[in-house]
Amino acid sequence: MQHRRWTLLAALALALTGVFALAAPQPARALTTEKATARPNEDGGSGVIGGMDTRLTWEGTVEDGEEVTSVTLTLPEGASFDHSTTRITALEGLSRMDVTGTATPSGSSITVTFDQTVPAGSLLRLEITNMQFPAAGGGVVVSGSYQTGDGSHELADSEPIATIANTPLQSIVNWLDQQPWVQAWNSNQFLGMFLRPQLLVTSFASLAPGWILCLGIVVAAYPFAIALGLLFAMLKISKWRVLRAIAIVYINILRGTPLFLQIYIMFFGLPMVGINIDNNLLGIIVMAINSSAYLAEIFRAGIQSIPQGQYEAASSLGMNYVQTMFSVILPQTVRRVIPTVTSDFITAFKDTSLLSSVGVMELMMFSKNLTTVTGNITPYVAAGIFYLIVTLPLIKVVGTIEENIARSERGGGPRPRPRRRAEVADGAAERMKEAEAAEGASVSAAVAGVSALLASPNARAKEASDVC
């Protein structure tokens, strides 16, 4: 493709020289600069930072009828090629030619002398590793010269390479690089591989957006998951066989297949049937659907753990099924399922990591990219710490809630002060008034009282065993 472009350009140039034959002709170039690029060396970023080791790749084509014996690349003052290594590749079309050579750095320029002449028509690539751009940053133009059989010629300037000056974060890393304790720490293979201080610093900075996205996805997905889960829980305990069947199929398929598979189907399948949804949004949808199946089972178990006597009590108060559900059963269910739902939230939060396999830029994706660039496992450890920041407090919350629930189920915990009989009667009158004023809120309390009256010893035993 490139070659075609260049022949086109060459043809154009020929035509132009034909038109302006009398004008001074351009000096013919035997070696044309194709491009010069630099490898991003910002830890966890995509910038090219000056004053730090990186790799310069320069490409040029040797024009017809010319042979090149050496190339000198020159960078602006402040660049350095000391300690660099150079890899020479010469290609004819796609096939590699045997070209070797030696590179001699001198200040901000480097001269590569070839052992064999680079023949006409070939693409020459020089990859110079561990060189440094000027520390000040800015657009860096690669210029230089080359030697052919008939002497030295100027090389055309490359397109400028965008570089930046050092960042504060990078300065910290460079400072850490110098510390003897850091070197001692890293010399231990395990610590150096999993807990390299320099990488922990850069990881924390560059993983943060991924962490925010993870949290965003799961927080956005969860309300939908709860609503969907509740819906399917209701369907599953429905009287109608068809609704039950729908719920069972939905819940069992989603709980019975790996989330990984569901992600693949949604991310690769939907676009194939012509539905294109933003990746992050799709991530939210997948997480919501997946969690909803687990939540449906949790809610169903929670609802069914409420003793039958309460339904009877509610209907004795003249409530219909919907009223019973929303003002008697569900409020009690919520309290019972909070620990399990929180555990499921923790699982869902960790499961967002699977979205990295389809290119959602979440925490694991960032760490994978960093690990790739650095060949070190530390970014994954940093990601683990990010996960813990969310999960540890939640685990603590679950523990506390479970303890409180267990205590109140045992009959411990705060209870009303003992009152005299007359006070109780007054209280009952008051309660009647409240019930008239705000029906929904106090009805459940009243029902609980009635159910206690109705419940036989058997039902009580069942209540104890049904607690989820």
Partner: protein, 277 residues
């Protein structure tokens, strides 16, 4: 921590010694190999498991290294090649389960689980700081794949905001995109098959990976995709070996030279690529 790691290090050294001693006393095979190779020090290498050459690969780059549908055996050009190398060295070749490409070099660098990494790994100066490479056994280039229906694309038309280009994480293809198409968004995936699947389903505009792999995938499995741009990089594949094990690098270089000489490598090239390279 430090103390225990030293003890562990001591253990490793002890094991290595034991392996090399038993390797020597095991005798015959290593001895003959060394004599054909005309350098006596080639036998001085350590192996994770005695008598076995354990290979790490991603097994996701047909026709170089892959697992055919319906089988569990790794196969491909590189698989045949490393088996031939192991034969030359009198060792039995054993593949670890497929792993992600970007974990292979750290694994080899760390040592202790695999002897060599063979997964169309391009020799670069950065990687040479982590591991040793054997001599190259194959030249390669990069290929950029789009949908056949996408029409002509150029580097310029892809180097725009909002263009998503899939690559295999940690590959030279990935760094080519980062460097040459800085405006496009690089999406790092686990293997080229996932990348090209994403192109097929319209998730990404293009995918970049090693040219032989892309050509194979486009002509065999993903017939609605095409190699739109052949990127001349002239890179060379090498076998990755732990830096503390230069003897093994030497020995494999010797075996590769023998295989090149007796025509085995050309045979394998014809078998897998249909032509000598």
């Amino acid at each position: 921590m430090k103390l225990s790691s030293r003890i562990a290090g001591g253990l490793v050294v002890a094991c290595a010694l034991a392996v090399s001693i038993s390797g020597c006393s095991g005798g015959g095979q290593t001895g003959t190999q060394a004599s054909t190779d005309s350098s006596a020090d080639t036998a001085a290498y350590t192996l994770v498991e005695d008598g076995k050459l354990i290979v790490a690969s991603d097994l996701a780059n047909a026709p170089l290294d892959f697992v055919e549908e319906g089988t569990s055996d790794p196969q491909g050009f590189e698989v045949d090649l490393i088996n031939a190398v192991a034969d030359e060295l009198g060792l039995e070749c054993e593949y670890l389960p497929a792993m992600k490409f970007d974990t292979i070099l750290p694994l080899i660098e760390q040592g202790g689980r695999a002897d060599v990494g063979v997964s169309n790994i391009t020799i670069t100066d950065e990687r040479s700081e982590q591991v040793d490479f054997t001599d190259s056994y194959m030249d390669s280039n990069q290929g950029l794949v789009t949908l056949t229906s996408a029409g002509d694309v150029t580097e310029e038309s892809l180097n725009t905001e909002g263009t998503r280009i899939a690559v295999q994480a940690g590959t030279t293809g990935a760094s080519w995109v980062e460097e040459s198409l800085p405006n496009a968004e690089v999406v790092s995936l686990d293997d080229p098959v996932v990348a090209i699947t994403g192109v097929q389903s319209g998730l990404y505009q293009a995918a970049v990976a090693d040219l032989p792999v892309m050509q194979y995938l486009c002509s065999n499995s993903f017939t609605d995709c095409k190699v739109a741009i052949e990127i001349p990089t002239g890179e060379q594949y090498g076998i990755a070996v732990n830096k503390d094990n230069p003897g093994l690098t030497e020995a494999i270089n010797g075996a590769l030279a023998t295989l090149e000489e007796n025509g085995t490598i050309s045979e394998l090239e014809v078998k897998w690529f249909g032509t000598e390279l």
